[in-house]
């Protein structure tokens, strides 16, 4: 893998069209990188929210059953 800074990339360009094409490619890459990271994080956050909601539902059901048991035992 070779790392170079963007100015060096531009320095190798010969025509204004090349530079414009490369700038567009870099911009598109940034956009897709952002989209990818956002979607991946959204998947994980949705799963965490799903887990939190399930946890709350379980706690609620356990509490209501305990109340019901106490009532029946009286």
């Amino acid at each position: 893998m070779h790392l170079q800074y963007i100015p060096m990339l531009f320095a190798q360009m010969t025509t204004p069209d090349d530079i414009a094409r490369e700038a567009a490619r870099l911009q598109r890459n940034y956009e897709w990188l952002s989209v990818g990271l956002w979607i991946a994080w959204v998947i994980l956050v949705i799963y965490v929210l799903f887990m939190v909601s399930r946890g709350r539902k379980l706690k609620r059901e356990i509490a209501s059953l305990k109340v019901m048991l106490e009532d029946r035992q009286k």
Binding site: H2, L3, G55
Partner: protein
């Protein structure tokens, strides 16, 4: 809530917070790294794509061990661990597939290729999703845990295929950076390893939370039986 459980919660939340802090810090550092010469900025998706795959594959291995231990001991704690880690692994594998697909779209010009690596990873996701569906289909707890454990062991057959497919066959998916003879600059490697650590930590915290929910579910089932018996 007893004192021990409260401390457990504090430690769990602290670990989760540490993982999030590391990841946020890394996103900031990664954004300032120079672009890769051939692929440009999109290459930086490797800092997320590979760590989530690590978590997913580790989760599959833990599920295998927990399933085997359940079949040997019949201890439901292992069943709880297997379902928890499978669910978490599935979420991470979904993130891996999505980031990989976006990477492929930019570099290959196509969202998906039916090559050995991508197909085996998708099959892996489907197998573990089927594991969760199987659990919903069986009512009786012991039977459910047994069937699920056997399915989990069967599903793990696909995991080495996912990992080694790029070595065994010619694939559209490239060779891994390290394992394929490549290398990272040192600063990239450090951030990448931190990201793997943070993702692993996040996965572990999510698994512990999910295991606790399985415990709560068992308590709920037991309470329901008691109420019905009265």
């Amino acid at each position: 809530m007893n004192e021990k459980s409260a401390w457990g919660d504090y430690i769990l939340y602290a670990l989760g917070t540490v993982a999030i802090v590391i990841l946020v810090r890394d996103i900031n550092v990664i954004a300032r790294l120079p672009n890769e010469a051939q692929q440009g900025a999109i290459f930086k998706i490797i800092f997320f794509h590979v760590p989530v795959a690590f978590v997913a594959m580790t989760a599959a291995a833990v599920a295998l061990i927990a399933s085997v231990l359940f079949l040997i001991t019949r201890n439901f704690r292992y069943d709880a661990l297997a379902v928890a880690v499978t669910e978490v692994g599935l979420a991470f594998l979904a993130a891996n597939l999505v980031t990989g697909s976006i990477w492929g779209h930019v570099i290959w010009g196509q969202w998906w290729a039916w090559d050995a690596r991508l197909t085996s990873a998708l099959v892996c996701w489907i197998l573990y999703a089927a594991y969760l569906m199987l659990r919903r289909a069986v009512e009786e707890p012991t039977q459910r845990a047994t069937f699920a454990a056997v399915w989990s062991i069967f599903s793990f057959i696909d995991v080495p295929i996912v990992i080694f497919s790029i070595k065994w066959w010619r694939t559209q998916h490239p060779q891994p950076v390290f394992w394929g003879g490549g290398s990272f600059p040192h600063d990239w490697l450090v951030i990448w390893l931190w990201n793997i650590l943070a993702m692993m930590l996040l996965g572990a915290v999510m698994t512990v939370v999910r295991v606790r929910q399985e415990d709560a579910q068992r308590e709920l089932d037991s309470l329901r039986r008691t109420v019905h018996a009265m």
